[in-house]
């Protein structure tokens, strides 16, 4: 292992911690939590030693708090020890040999399906907030309340991003930050706060994500609703027709399809197709869940 110079600022220490956690293969959500803990601790340490310089405090911190490598290891082993509601994704990786029909026992598929149904509501809400916020921020910029309003809006975006992260972790089983990133210290002037927020790429990527959730949410919702309705409709409609001996389906333009729904073998076939479709929907949901988890990791987690 290479022995570099010990970090002498909080920023350098955090950067070193982030590097070693990444090197050890930690998830972005866990890294973000570790950085939040570490920043809180180091700032407290500095606040408690007002007489000493930052470099001075940092030099002793490596002794007491631990080196970035040690801390990275601690978080990694702790994370492995905590078992969540879902199996660890490392363990479920060989899910390939699960087989097509075993998806019905995969809790992630149902979580993702729930998420897809929910995302229309959350997507519309996020989009409304972002569009209103951006428009008002620019509109009010020439007034004295423009600046505090823009700051408030940025704060709201962060909280929404965090809440969305909690939803994603609950339903999609993707590790997301469990705590809010520490905001800039209050003693900084309003201008430095704005500057920090503006140069923080996470501010922009979070806003982008929140706006993106409208089209994504609509698409997810449509896929989920159409998939569920089609598969259940075909399966239960056909079974119902088989039991009652009645079929009210009239498709005069397509005689062969109409014939299909009026004969027992056709109805049995339709029921089988419907049930099969339900498994396909579960697979699609799991795929969408996985894909959306990657998008969220990319845009919402600050690193």
């Amino acid at each position: 292992m290479k022995q570099d110079r010990p970090p002498d600022t909080v920023r350098a220490y955090l950067a070193a911690l982030q590097r070693s956690m990444k090197a050890q293969g930690c998830k972005p959500g866990l890294i973000s939590d570790a950085l939040a803990d570490c920043e809180e601790h180091l700032n407290n340490e500095i606040a408690m030693n007002p007489g000493r310089s930052e470099a001075d405090v940092l030099a002793s911190v490596v002794e007491t708090y631990g080196t970035p490598e040690e801390i990275a290891e601690e978080y990694k082993s702790m994370e492995a020890a905590i078992s969540g509601p879902f199996p660890k994704s490392d363990e479920t990786l060989p899910a390939r040999h699960y087989g097509f029909f075993n998806v019905v026992r995969d809790p992630r598929a149902y979580g993702a399906l729930m998420y897809m149904l929910l995302s229309l509501v959350t997507g519309v809400f996020y989009f409304t907030v972002v569009v209103t916020g951006v428009a008002l921020s620019f509109g009010l910029a020439i007034l004295i309340i423009g600046v505090p309003f823009a700051l408030l809006f940025i704060g709201i975006c962060r909280v929404l991003g965090h809440v969305e992260g909690r939803i994603i972790e609950g339903l999609l089983a993707v590790r997301m930050p469990r705590r809010l990133p520490p905001p800039t210290p209050a003693d900084e002037t309003i201008w430095t706060q704005i500057k920090e927020a503006l140069i923080d790429t996470r501010t922009w990527s979070t806003m982008f994500y929140l706006a993106l959730m409208l089209p994504l949410g609509v698409a997810y919702f449509v896929i989920a609703v159409v998939g569920i309705a089609l598969s259940f409709g075909l399966a239960f409609g056909s079974i119902w027709s088989l039991i009652t001996g009645r079929s009210d389906i009239q498709i005069s333009e397509v005689p062969w399809l109409e014939h299909l729904f009026h004969t027992a073998p056709g109805l049995i076939l339709a029921a089988i197709v419907g049930i099969f479709l339900f498994f396909v929907v579960l697979h699609i949901a799991r795929g969408v869940g996985w894909l959306h988890g990657r998008i969220a990791e990319l845009l919402l987690v600050r690193l």
Binding site: D33, A34, D37, C38, E39, E40, H41, N43, N44, E45, A47, M48, E63, T64, Y65, G66, E70, I71, E74, Y75, S77, M78, E79, A81, I82, R178, R179, L180, P182, P183, P185, A186, D187
Partner: protein, 129 residues
Amino acid sequence: MAEETPYTRKFRKELMAGLSSLVLLAVLARAGREMYGYEIAKAVKAEGEGGLIFKQGAIYPVLRSLNQLGLLDSRVEASAFGPPRRYYNITDEGRRALFEWQGAWRDMRGFVDDALASQGAVYEARPSA
């Protein structure tokens, strides 16, 4: 203190892995009030000679896992200066766990002490002839 061998460091780490939860529960139970991470870190350091073996950075992931197990409660509060703090407090379940773990630790300590002392030997770092 002489530089420790890598096995010793690994051994210490493994010993600490389970015991850190016990120590943190004990610190919070004794304090009898909620404490934030940094305060707990300082309290742990004050525990005694062994304090420094336990890196302060390592308590945060442990606190989080105890919180998730329901042995600790937590809430976030803005502080007068610096970043917001997460306060932890021990729950009733945590107290019960602490009581049971304390017993488990006594058993374990007795067993290990017996094993080390049963031969009446003192082990030294002496190369064998």
